[in-house]
């Protein structure tokens, strides 16, 4: 009696399962919505992080926009050259070779290096901090180290160390979300090959720059004189390197009195 009941129930449920399975199979064939096969390919070509770097809400939306010809194919920065090549193939366009870029922090204002303006005790976001009385640091161009950028990074490439943000260059995909988020524009996308960078954006006059930060560019022009390749120039008390002309010789790094120029390995 009990065995019969089990068999009966299993039979009914199994039969119903097969019946509904058949109906679903029929429906999926009969009422299938045709999908542009390029969409599937384009979606697979993306980095798949849904980071929003392209300006679309997620990879699906961008893939659809590409396939519909609404936008250009070069917006998926995390995918880099690989995605660009694949998208070009799918869309029948020619891919341009792009220079790989990476996010760099143009500030060395660690705790103790840049002078504090006041003891900030409010909500732990950079945006709120810089809005209050000129920000918690004396330098109005410095990193305040409260991590708005860290919170938007989808690739775990950023962390706050000693009051300043540090970027892991290997993990950074140059999506640019941190660049958009930073209220003081401390982070910039620079070519990966630019290994020598001026890690300061202070436009303050020399005396003020010296008073506010130990590692500020004071516009002394020693680097300009030391450079044999005409690659570094000082404008508005701030040195700027032209990555096209820079040969990474390191002469400017040697002469900089405040050590604001950094040479990466």
């Amino acid at each position: 009696m009990e065995l019969n009941a089990i068999l009966y129930a299993a039979g009914v449920m199994g039969g119903l399962g097969i019946l509904f399975g058949l109906i679903l199979t029929f429906a999926s064939k009969k009422f299938a919505v045709p999908v542009d096969e390029r969409f599937t390919l384009a979606r697979d070509a993306m980095a798949g992080a849904n980071c929003g770097a392209c300006g679309y809400p997620g990879c699906d939306a961008y893939a659809l926009a590409v396939v519909n010809g609404e936008t250009t194919i070069d917006l998926c920065t995390p995918g880099g050259q690989k995605t660009l090549d694949l998208l070009a193939e799918i869309m029948g366009q020619t891919a341009e070779v792009t220079e790989p870029v990476v996010a760099r922090v143009l500030c060395q204002g660690e705790t103790g290096v840049v002078k504090p303006r006041y003891d900030y005790n409010g909500p732990e976001t950079c945006h709120t901090a810089v809005g209050l009385a000129g920000g918690p640091t004396m330098c109005q161009w410095s990193c305040v180290g409260l991590g708005d950028c860290v919170r938007v990074c989808r690739f775990d490439a950023m962390k706050i160390e000693n009051g300043i943000v540090v970027i892991d260059e290997d993990k950074c995909t140059a999506c640019g979300m941190c660049v958009k988020e930073c209220p003081r524009s401390v982070i910039k996308l620079l070519p990966k090959k630019a290994r020598v960078t001026v890690r300061c954006q202070s436009l303050a006059a020399p005396r003020e720059a010296r008073e506010t930060c130990d590692k500020a560019c004071i516009g002394c022009k020693r680097c300009e004189k030391a450079c044999e390749y005409d690659a570094i120039h000082v404008n508005n008390f701030l040195a700027l390197i032209d990555p096209e002309k820079c040969t990474l010789c390191g002469a400017c790094v040697q002469v900089c009195p405040t050590k604001c120029i950094e040479q990466l390995p």
């Binding site: 303006r117 409010g122 709120t128 209050l132 000129g134």
Partner: protein, 438 residues
Amino acid sequence: MKLSFKGGIHPLRELHEGKGKTHSQPIRDFVPERVCIPVDMHIGTPSAPCVKKGDLVKLGQVIATPVGGIGIPVHASVSGEVISVGPRQMLGKTASTCIEIANDGKDEWVELSPLGSVDSAPADKIVQQVKDAGICGMGGACFPSHIKMMIPEGKSVDTIILNGAECETFLTADHRLMLEEPQRIVDGLRLIMRAMKVSTGIIAIEDNKKDAIKVMQEAISGLEGIRVAVLKTKYPQGGEKQLIDAVTKRQVPSGALPIDAQVVVFNVGTAAAIADAVIHGKPLISRVTTVTGCVNTPSNLRVRIGTSFQDAIEAAGGFSEDPGKIFAGGSMTGLCIPGTEVSLTKANNGIVVLNQKDAVKKQPTPCIRCGRCVEACPSRLNPQFLNALNDLSDLAGMKKHNVMDCTVCGSCSYVCPAKIELCATFKEAKEKITARRV
């Protein structure tokens, strides 16, 4: 019946809203040795300085001329020599241009040009006189008053409300002004009503200021069209939209201005300044400010615009304890100041000094969805949901759920048992949405 609105809180109920220390202190005049006047006190383009270092200025002389459509001039608040004109870091995001004047103690006025008495001043010239006197909203926002007094085409106004609610904790500046100088306020209101051709004027006062209600009622006796409205003691009763809701039962639509509800609101201090400007020709050079908290003699001071916080605190007897935080304004909407060298502006209605113990920040814990913030929100938003959206960096979602209607009153943060900084989050989100055009 006491008028009120939906939501809101009653902060520091057991301490009489923190006002007990100063509500019976008469207004004292205080003139500093030196003032440092920022030219960007009002909302709008900063005024352009028109004096230079070494110039001798008289009391009330124009030292910065208005720039742009809604600019107002800035006047010397002491007579003496201009020491410097240059950038100083005040409470703004970037440094403000400031004019520093050493007081020679003579208080010599420039030639004043009054328009006439309350009844004889020509109505069409009042607005210009208010602009020339550099008057802006003295309740805290510092929006140029003459703009409010010009009714745009296609709009109409049938009621003027004078905001004497002073719902902000600790502050008693407006309270004392209503008690001691009711005539100035009533004159100001009548001048505004004449200039704007409005027949109804309401002075709204919270019921924790019973003496002020009585004094104002006496001051308006015999005047047609003016009455006193008694409000329930509740924060943010003095918020423009909440005040209009409570007094007239009209709601200002989302994203609209009070004028869309046919109402214009002025602070009682602004009305008094307008009366001075029209009847005596005096520009706005001083205001009443409450200095309270951890100071030796909590006071209501009539300070000159541009007085430093340091001088004002010393005038109130100096710190009684080691200060932890100093607010420019009350403790609900006030901003913390970075140091005591910053100046008092036309909008500064108070200085509140907290000791080290009270200034300790409480660490936020996760939201428990108790819904107290929803009950407290006077703008009828859902703060806990907006905060969840903010955690996802979903600015578009926050905008969709009307974060732009948040008035940044701080009621949600005040009631939150998890100590989440809701209000600061929304302020930040609003700024981002505006800046990025989400």
